[in-house]
Symmetry: C2
Subunit: 129 residues, 2 copies
DNA sequence: TTAGCAAGTATACAAAAGGATAGTGTTGTT
DNA sequence: AACAACACTATCCTTTTGTATACTTGCTAA
């Protein structure tokens, strides 16, 4: 991506729009939430998971936040929720194609930051302010 | 990025690590915060901005949150803060090379999500749960 | 008939994030 | 002497986020 293309995208995003409701920002913010991100990563790793599995994988999450985040992901089309009316009930979650692309972007970002992390952590320790 | 590479990255990220302190997650979370993201975008657009300029561009941010986010960005090496001891004092902010790569990843994510936003917003309206 | 499971809901509370706004320090201008 | 400019701090208060945990529902097995 060259600088001109970047400036086009930034104009498109309308970053300085004073409007309260900006769908792009909303959609992005919903995706980049802490818990949401972790859920997408574990679903990317395991392909299909039940509610309790996700809960186990996303260490420290409460059922309330898990439900909330999964619902948002489902609502925005990143995750597919499938209910099997067995007894006891079984519910499976997996990424949609759209969710899978989102995962790739996330992993791409992580891939780039990982080698920088030790330096950043070191800088943080020295940065007293 | 193929699936095998993805799985390697996910293993590397150690997404299911129960440890409270995971530097990778910390660094990512700090980057993907709502205000932080907006600041990176406006700095990408204008190259160099003073405190009051950033405040004007990031609509709705309070000085407290602006300072906090700028400090985090500086601490993590995404932003350079330059003080000119004039009177009145002048402080300039701009992205570092590292911050510029971060911006590219962010814009890349946005670039992909923008065409999906209308559908997502429509789905949200229909999704009553 | 009582127990038990899965997948949540509901409730109460605690912690963190964030908003509004006043104050600080320095020095040139009126 | 009062004021203004700038880049913040500090304080108070509200909102949001999150935790912990008890409860629900529907059916099945002991």
């Amino acid at each position: 991506m060259n600088d001109k293309r970047m400036q086009e995208m930034l104009a498109n995003l309308d970053v300085e729009n004073p409007s309260e409701v900006c769908p792009i920002k909303d959609v992005l913010a919903a995706m980049l939430d802490k818990w949401t991100m972790m859920i997408v990563l574990v679903l990317g790793k395991h392909k299909v998971l039940r509610f309790a599995d996700v809960k186990r994988s996303v260490v420290g999450i409460s059922p309330k936040m898990l439900t909330k985040s999964l619902r948002t992901l489902e609502r925005d089309g990143h995750v597919l929720r499938t209910v099997y009316p067995e007894v006891p009930i079984r519910v499976e979650y997996n990424l949609t194609d759209q969710g899978y692309i989102f995962l790739k972007k996330l992993v791409d970002l992580a891939d780039w930051i990982v080698p920088h992390v030790p330096t950043i952590v070191k800088n943080r320790e020295e940065f007293i302010k």
